[in-house]
């Protein structure tokens, strides 16, 4: 509990086979906060999330998550670590051969010895939190994209994780569903006393929600700051990101060091 950071990533590099994706990333995720990692499609956000989740091991550098160095863990250690995390996958990844109820109950049945009626109460509680108690007996194939995302969210928080990882929670949602999910992310984080990492390229939807933002481009962290700092600074990068202009004031491949100075953010704070 002494460590104020729930996850610390130091000088982390990663390559798929020979193909480098991340280069010397440094992140600090403070306990209890909602932190966003933003960047262009294909810049390595999902990869970074998988490293934090210890599903991939860094090629170089360290990832310290929930007080454990992921590179030093054996299989049992990994599984023990993952039980304290919840992850929302980019495409939901609901178990298609199980009902919504069984999806949310999955981890409780796998990892606890709770009797079935206690599980029932817990599952309904989680589904109520995402507003889908009425859909408990449906199959994932019968849900809309937004509903499936909410079920996946309920499943991710089934065992009250200390760290919740969201991979693109907002893509492919209508504005109402998006608002619902955004509010849920914040609510769940605060009510569970958890810490959340959101990986996304939806700047406009994410900024109002989060406490701290990291910007990534081409596998490097190029800027960081609180949501207010980022918004007030009127950063050209953010502007360009929101409007989606191809030829914005700041090209993505701008040298990282110069850009950080440009933004006025402390490097590696």
């Amino acid at each position: 509990m002494a460590d104020p950071h729930i996850a610390v990533i130091e000088d982390l590099s990663f390559a798929y086979d020979r193909r480098p994706v991340l280069h010397g990333i440094g992140l600090k995720i403070p306990r209890g906060k909602v932190v966003a990692v933003m960047g262009q499609s294909g810049c390595g956000k999902t990869t970074l999330l998988r490293i934090i989740a210890a599903a991939l091991m860094p090629t170089r550098g360290r990832a310290r998550v929930l007080g454990r160095d992921t590179g030093t863990l054996d299989r049992d250690g990994l599984y023990a670590l993952r039980r304290r995390m919840g992850m929302l996958f980019q495409f939901g990844a609901l178990f298609t051969d199980m009902s919504v109820f069984d999806n949310v109950a999955f981890q409780m049945r796998e990892h606890t010895n709770l009797p079935e009626d206690a599980i029932r109460d817990l599952v309904l509680l989680k589904l109520e939190a995402v507003g889908l108690r009425g859909a408990a007996q449906r199959m994932p194939g019968e849900l809309s994209g937004g509903m499936a995302r909410r079920v996946a969210l309920a499943r991710a928080i089934a065992l009250d994780p200390q760290l919740i990882l969201y991979d693109e929670p907002f893509t492919g949602l209508d504005p109402i569903a998006l608002g619902v999910i955004a509010r849920l992310v914040r609510q769940l984080n605060d009510s569970l006393g958890a810490t959340s990492i959101i990986v996304t390229h939806d700047v406009a939807e994410t900024l109002p929600l989060v406490d701290y933002v990291y910007f990534m481009a081409e596998g490097r962290v190029i800027a960081e700051g609180t949501a207010d700092q980022v918004r007030r600074s009127g950063v050209a990068f953010v502007e360009q990101f929101v409007s989606g202009a191809i030829d914005g004031p700041v090209p993505f491949h701008y040298p990282a060091a110069g850009y950080e100075a440009d933004l006025g953010f402390a490097a590696g704070a």
Partner: protein, 265 residues
């Protein structure tokens, strides 16, 4: 010319290396699967479900095919036997053909295309839609939770299916031989009983069906688990399951037959 030859050699070498590498990977997968099979037995309900999907749902095709194979055997067998005036041996011919060879082999081939392909497609799709990664993220080993129950479900189903195939085939032989053609019923059954040996014929047939069951289901779960996580990847893996496991059945059948039924037996 020389360049083309060189390129061909490099391709051949690469193909062989990949093949050997996959074989080794498959063997390690098999060991890992066996070591992590505890869940499949502790929570036998999971395996029961797979027995239903692989075994019970294959019943129709197995029973109908068995019936027709037995009927054809009787027609062809009678044709030949009566030339030598020994048509009452029809029961022996039908029963031995089925129990020793056709039961395990044809049931295995049908099982590969009916259940094996379904297992590969299901596991492959679960992988492609990140369900297996999600499971791993929830600290649940997909090999123990998804693969092992399917493997054991198939391994348990296959011998039962082969036995039912043979039984149905013998019944088909009886229908055609005795009811239709009019071979003496007493001779049909008594000669069969006298000639079919429990250890030599039935047990060997059962061993074959167990070996085929392990081979087919292992190939099916491995191809599914190893499939590239895309639509083409899964469809390719499904095809490979049927082709590879059919060849494996026929090759294993030759080896097993050579071991079981030659040299004094």
């Amino acid at each position: 010319m020389l360049v083309a030859l060189r390129a061909a050699l490099i391709r051949l070498g690469a193909a062989v290396t990949v093949g050997v590498w996959r074989l080794g990977y498959g063997a390690r997968f098999f060991v890992y699967l066996i070591v992590h099979s505890g869940t499949a037995f502790r929570r036998f309900r999971l395996t029961m479900r797979e027995i239903y999907f692989a075994g019970v749902l294959s019943l129709i095709i197995i029973l109908v095919s068995g019936l027709f194979v037995g009927m054809v055997l009787a027609l062809q067998g009678y044709e030949t036997l009566q030339r030598y005036g020994s048509s009452e041996a029809l029961g022996v011919l039908v029963a031995l053909s089925l129990v020793r060879e056709l039961g395990p082999v044809v049931a295995g081939l049908l099982f590969a295309s009916r259940a094996g392909s379904a297992i590969t497609a299901e596991i492959g799709l679960m992988k492609a839609t990140e369900q297996l990664s999600a499971m791993e993220m929830m600290a649940v080993d997909p090999v123990a939770r998804v693969v092992a129950p399917r493997f054991w479900g198939g391994v348990i189903s296959m011998p039962v299916l082969a036995a039912l195939f043979s039984a149905m085939g013998i019944f088909g032989g009886y229908l055609v031989g005795v009811v239709l053609i009019g071979v003496d019923e007493g001779a049909f059954w008594s000669q069969m009983q006298a000639a079919v040996d429990v250890r030599n014929d039935i047990l060997n047939g059962v061993i074959k069906s167990v070996v085929f069951g392990v081979a087919v289901t292992l190939i099916a779960v491995f191809e599914g688990y190893d499939a590239p996580p895309t639509a083409e990847g899964v469809s390719g893996a499904t095809t490979r399951t049927v082709v590879t496991s059919s060849l494996a059945i026929l090759a294993l059948d030759f080896v097993l037959t050579a071991l079981m039924f030659t040299g004094g037996a």
